[in-house]
């Protein structure tokens, strides 16, 4: 009980003091789906972006997308367009917008919003099936979004 209260207090404290120069999910400014300003202070790392994109518990982008430049990914899904050449089709700001909340670019998209924390119906605590307690963290944090965007901008044909 005490332990729970303590960790709740800690969580509240963390929520109240976001990492300096990081944009909170609620403060992201979309312009026609695009997000100009980087969400974190540090530049994105494309290698870390690949890890986010191919890890089930993180972005798991390959559940739906194929990427020819990542031939080692086993059994990528084919629900969504192949990501090859996305950097030719979209600007960095547009890619950031799509990864943060694809629904701002593609209305009603099946693609999940990775940097969004409210407006959900029966949000759960991760994949436990239980109700989320307190404020929901976004699926990816600001730096992970930047890492993914950094990788996507390398996908030119």
């Amino acid at each position: 009980m005490t332990r729970r209260l303590w960790s709740a207090a800690l969580a509240a404290l963390c929520a109240a003091t976001p990492v300096a120069s990081e944009t909170a999910p609620k403060d992201v400014a979309f312009h026609e789906g695009a997000v100009e300003a980087p969400l974190s202070g540090a530049p994105g790392n494309p290698e870390a972006g690949v890890t986010v994109m191919t890890t089930n518990a993180l972005g798991n982008c390959v559940a739906c997308h194929t990427v020819a430049a990542l031939p080692d990914v086993q059994f990528p899904g084919n629900i969504a367009p192949a990501l090859d050449g996305v950097a030719d089709r979209y600007s960095e700001a547009q890619l950031r917008g799509i990864v943060a909340n694809a629904k701002m670019t593609f209305e009603g998209s099946f693609m999940p919003a990775f940097y969004k924390t409210d407006g959900f119906i029966r949000p759960g605590d991760g994949f436990t099936g239980k109700a989320a307690e307190g404020e929901l963290p976004p699926i990816l944090n600001a730096q992970q979004i930047e890492d993914v965007v950094a990788y996507l901008t390398t996908l030119k044909e």
Partner: protein, 273 residues
């Protein structure tokens, strides 16, 4: 697409003829969609068509179907005097074949109470009211074994749940749930099983999410899985708070999902991975 190689967009063309104790039985695993779905799709397919060759083969012969072990266990339970006064299912219902046809029409509304009844609810009313026992856990082994035994008695019969009259409000509620985008991933049943059926979501070949084959023997769990459990799993995968097995919401959903399969054969105990 070429790059994924194994990605097959369509359900496999195949015919399911099961070798049973009573000889071969050919099931309807693909048919035209029921009227209420014709705006959305022409054809309904059992999940059997979306599985790998070896998984499909296991359902062709009762001898190879691992789910049959649980049916045998249920026969013992059916015959056992287990009520507080030594009642058995067999004592009141004779053989399990007296249940033929029931699976195909459930869930349905009980005319007396006006409640929507799953097979589990019927079983539990006998267990509690007629045998004086504690209710069986809705997703427990005793219950799922019995679901398998009773469902098997309707094998080959077309699913035919009523959606009008007293069932209509439950059906509407189930339909609403089917199209609601739950959880942090904001996904509805329809997003996966209607919009993307036939596609690969990572290594999984998405079926229409039909329940004509339930309960199913799931290779991954090495055990039986009821439709209520499958719903819990699918909703959990959207990073949502699930509904409980046997809740009003999941009962209504079961009626709606069953109705999307009206016309497919009850498979009794199917095999899925």
């Amino acid at each position: 697409l070429a790059l994924t190689g194994m990605a097959s967009a369509d359900p496999v063309e195949d015919t399911l003829t099961v070798e049973t104790d009573d000889g071969p039985l050919t099931l309807t695993t693909m048919t035209s969609a029921p009227d209420h779905l014709t705006d959305t799709m022409d054809t309904i397919w059992s999940g059997w068509h979306y599985r790998e060759d070896d998984t499909r083969d296991m359902e062709r012969d009762d001898f190879d179907n691992p789910g049959m072990v649980f049916v045998d266990r249920a026969i013992d339970s059916w015959n056992a005097p287990q009520g507080v006064k030594g009642e058995s299912c067999a004592g009141c219902h004779e053989g399990p074949e007296s249940m033929a046809g029931l699976r195909a029409v459930l869930p349905r509304v009980d005319p007396e109470s006006g409640k929507l009844m799953l097979m589990e609810d019927h079983i539990n009313s006998c267990v509690t009211e007629r045998m004086g026992l504690e209710a069986w856990k809705l997703t427990g082994d005793e219950m799922k074994d019995m679901l398998a035994l009773i469902s098997l008695q309707s094998r080959g019969q077309p699913v035919n749940v009523a959606i009008d009259g007293a069932a209509a409000p439950f059906w509407e509620k189930g339909k609403e749930i089917y199209y609601t985008r739950f959880g942090q991933l904001e996904m509805s049943c329809a997003n996966c099983h209607e919009d993307n059926q036939g596609m690969m979501i990572r290594a999984d070949h998405l079926s229409q999410g039909q329940i004509n084959g339930f309960p199913t023997y799931r290779l991954k769990d090495a055990g039986l899985l009821s439709s209520q459990q499958r719903f819990i799993g699918c909703v959990r995968d959207t990073r949502a708070e699930t509904f409980k097995a046997g809740s009003d919401e999941f009962k209504a959903l079961e009626l709606y999902v069953a109705s999307r399969g009206n016309g497919l054969s009850v498979e009794g105990v199917s095999v899925r991975h």
